[in-house]
């Protein structure tokens, strides 16, 4: 029980954004199993709306989506003072160097190519949340 208590105290909200409902479903199930609160969005605009209404601690962001792609969303979020601190992990099928480079330049904390290894992704999520806490404190 103590574990549950601990997790609850630390519950982080993750926004999963992907236009593929299957991927969103599986990721949500996995993340919730691992104790995260999950919010979902299926395109770029919805993502922005969710960020505004339910500000997440981290966003898993697909790239190719209808109604604003991931790259544009990233740009928008990083341009706003309220949202620039939110760590964003790109989870995408685009594996070209130039896509990775532009995402990193745009402020994505990690870039994960589909199909991903969930355990690896989980590690990256945890690390990103930790580093976010660290970087926020001094500021």
């Amino acid at each position: 029980m103590s574990v549950v208590f601990k997790e609850k105290m630390q519950t982080k909200k993750i926004l999963v954004v992907d236009d593929e409902p299957d991927v969103v479903r599986i990721l949500s199930k996995s993340l919730m199993t691992d104790g995260f609160e999950v919010v979902t969005a299926y395109d770029g605009l919805e993502c922005l709306a969710k960020v505004e209404n339910e500000p997440p601690d981290l966003i898993l962001l697909d790239n190719i989506m209808p109604n604003m792609d991931g790259q544009a969303v990233l740009k928008k979020l990083k341009a706003s003072k309220e949202t620039e601190e939110i760590p964003i992990i790109m989870v995408t099928a685009l594996a070209d160097e130039k896509d990775i480079a532009s995402a990193q330049k745009g402020g994505a904390i990690e870039y994960v190519v589909k199909p991903f290894d969930y355990n690896v992704l989980l590690k990256q999520i945890k690390q990103s949340l930790k580093s976010k806490c660290k970087s926020v404190k001094p500021g």
Binding site: D22, V23, K29, S30, T33, A95, E97, P115, Y118
Partner: protein, 676 residues
């Protein structure tokens, strides 16, 4: 008898009129003398002038010429021998006959000693002997005169000396020769006069004559006379053969000497000349010998040369024949060459150094769609880049743009530096290349798109299966677990295949760059060991690492090299059933490289299969590939990545014992940009 006497008298004296100076103070005596002379029986006339005193006589002698003087010694103003001396002084050559008194014969003799010619006593005998005495005196005088004339006529220098070297007589030539007068020389010692010495001169031949009373001749060069003289001295002997004096005759031999000298000089010259001639002759002989020798040598050489020449000639003939043969070959080959040039499908253009076209072959004509007469003399118009292949575009008269691959080389064309341009029409090839490029792009895009499209559903399948298999959606029975495991493995395999295809596509299209950063190879190996150990343990294999700690930190792309090493180790584990897999690092043989090796104890690879290992989609037949689920792209990708690092990868194997893969990384970065 009488006429004979007259003749003789005249001959004796040489005169018919005799001028007489009678010096007599006694008138009686005077008349006596005058009478005697007037009564002269011979056809001789006497002209008498009288003087009564010495002073009168002196006056007469000075003003007129007289032949003889009749002198009374006792005069009012003079007496005795003194009178004779005075008259003699005035005219030394005139005969003086002294008239003395009766008992005074002593005075007469004294008078003769002092210069008188004769003396007569004034008595009755005077009648008889006066004329005779006068005539004799005159005759004697004439004789003396003649002797002197003769003496003086001698051109040689003559003097007579007594036995004591005193000069008694000297001729005119001698006196003149020593710039003197006879009267100044007479009575002096010859050596005083001639040699200015006080004792007889040792060189004088008279010394010898003096000693042996014979004639002697010497050549004398007397500095006082300054002319070369040939001196002959001859003795004057008395009846008893005793020497009383000598004759000294000196002959001027200047001319003779000159002549002699000339002869001598000439002789000398002759001798010199003859010597020279002799020398010249000897030299000539020598030269002659040398010449002969040279001649012989020349002959030998000429013979040799002739032999050589005839040999050369033979060779030349042979060469000419060969040349002719060659020429015909040449003509044939020229014709062949022409065929080659004319028939060459590539255009050939010769351009001079000013860029003017000098030659075009038919292929070039058709390339430009213009005839050679249009092209020749025109400016070539393309950049002249030597020894490099360049692409140029030219316009064909009818076909439009033609793309030409041009290569230019410098050549000698008709003796001038020119350029040969070889033109290859690559228009079709270019078009094909363009098409190919487009096709490749489409393929690349397709693969990229396809793999993207595959990735998303694959993600869903994979993660969905994982959720179920991890029993997060409820408990599973063993059979469900087994089959979902099959699904999971195949999904993973599919995922790897997609990743590999995408990687390979990226590498092939040049879209993958290497990110060269300083890294430690040993660290990578350690990480690999960590990640791969679960896999090897699963199969019961030992994963061993042997690291060389001295290898330096070098620049390479960490992710890509990790990918390569993962791939190789993964393969090694996959194909090995028993034993171990060993990863080792070492410094290469020449300190320029780091070598990474992965050895396994698997079945090994046949030698003939080794070269195909790194080919794409190459999976070795008969292997348990199906079981291991490889894409067939792993090693091809690894090779491309290693190539991007300017490095090499290879494999060694012994079937039945195992396989070792090696790759090396350069320690120093190479400047050259990788070609792939």
């Amino acid at each position: 008898m009488g006429t004979e006497t007259i003749d003789k008298t005249q001959i004796l004296t040489g005169k018919d009129l005799i001028k007489v100076l009678l010096v007599e103070d006694d008138a009686v005596d005077r008349r006596t003398v005058e009478r005697i002379l007037a009564d002269c029986p011979w056809p001789v006339e006497f002209v008498i002038e009288s003087a009564g005193s010495l002073s009168e006589a002196v006056e007469c002698l000075g003003s007129k010429r007289h032949d003889i003087v009749l002198l009374d010694l006792v005069l009012p103003d003079s007496s005795g021998v003194e009178t004779v001396q005075r008259v003699s002084e005035i005219n030394p050559h005139i005969p003086i006959i002294v008239l003395t008194g009766l008992d005074d014969e002593g005075t007469g003799l004294l008078a003769i000693e002092n210069g008188a010619t004769d003396y007569l006593i004034k008595d009755q005998s005077l009648d008889k002997i006066l004329i005779r005495t006068v005539l004799y005196a005159l005759a004697r005088k004439k004789e003396t005169e003649n002797w002197w004339r003769t003496f003086d006529a001698i051109s040689d220098l003559v003097f007579i000396q007594d036995k004591d070297f005193t000069i008694t007589k000297a001729n005119k030539a001698f006196a003149e020769a020593i710039n003197s007068k006879p009267q100044d020389i007479i009575g002096k010692k010859c050596y005083e006069v001639l040699h200015n010495t006080s004792t007889p001169w040792p060189g004088c031949p008279y010394q010898k004559t003096h000693a042996d009373m014979k004639s002697h001749t010497e050549e004398i060069n007397d500095p006082l006379i300054n002319i070369p003289l040939l001196v002959t001295t001859s003795p004057i002997l008395d009846d008893n053969g005793n020497l009383i004096g000598g004759v000294h005759i000196a002959k001027d031999v200047t001319e003779q000497k000159k002549a002699e000298k000339l002869i001598l000089d000439t002789n000398l010259q002759l001798r010199e000349t003859s010597q020279k001639l002799l020398n010249a002759k000897q030299e000539l002989e020598k030269k002659n010998e040398a010449l002969e020798k040279a001649h012989k040598e020349l002959e030998t050489r000429v013979e040799e040369r002739t032999a050589e020449l005839s040999k050369a000639n033979e060779l030349l003939k042979k060469e000419i024949a060969e040349r002719k043969q060659m020429e015909s070959y040449l003509r044939a080959s020229e014709a062949n060459l022409r065929k080659v040039i004319v028939g060459n499908p590539d255009g050939i253009v010769i351009v001079d150094k000013n860029g003017i076209v000098r030659f075009v072959n038919p292929a070039a004509e058709s390339l430009f769609g213009r005839e050679d007469k249009e092209l020749l003399g025109e400016t070539f118009g393309f950049p002249m880049v030597l020894d490099e292949t360049t692409e140029v575009e030219t316009i064909h008269k009818t076909k439009g743009i033609v793309i030409v691959e041009m290569r230019m080389v410098e050549i000698d064309w008709e003796g001038e530096i020119s350029y040969l341009a070889s033109l290859h029409n690559i228009t079709e090839r270019k078009e094909a290349e363009e098409k190919m490029k487009k096709a490749m792009e489409i393929k690349s895009e397709f693969i990229s798109m396809a793999s993207h499209e595959l990735r998303t559903p694959l993600t869903a399948i994979k993660e969905g299966v994982r959720l179920v298999i991890q029993e997060q959606t409820g408990k599973l029975n063993d059979e469900q677990k087994e089959f979902l495991g099959i699904v999971k493995r195949n999904v993973e395999r599919l995922a790897r295949l997609i990743n590999d295809i995408l990687d390979f596509q990226k590498l092939e299209s040049g879209k993958m760059d290497v990110d060269m950063q300083k890294n430690d190879v040993n660290e990578i190996v350690k990480e690999i060991k960590e990640t791969m150990t679960p896999l090897s343990s699963e199969k019961g294999l030992n994963l061993i690492i042997e690291l060389d700690d001295s290898i330096p930190i070098i620049k390479f792309d960490k992710d890509k090299i990790t990918q390569v090493l993962t791939n190789i180790v993964n393969n090694a584990i996959k194909f090995t059933e028993h034993g171990s897999v060993t990863i080792s690092t070492t410094k290469g043989d020449n300190d320029n490289i780091i070598q990474v090796s992965v050895s396994d104890t698997g079945p090994g690879i046949k030698n003939e299969d080794l070269p195909r290992l790194f080919n794409e989609f190459e999976q070795l037949a008969g292997g348990n590939e199906r079981k291991t689920g490889g894409s067939g792209l792993g090693l091809a990708i690894s090779r491309k990545i290693i190539k991007k690092h300017n490095a090499t990868i290879w494999a060694e194997s012994e079937p039945g014992k195992g396989t070792t893969f090696h790759f090396v990384l350069p320690i120093k970065e190479r400047r050259r940009k990788p070609r792939d």
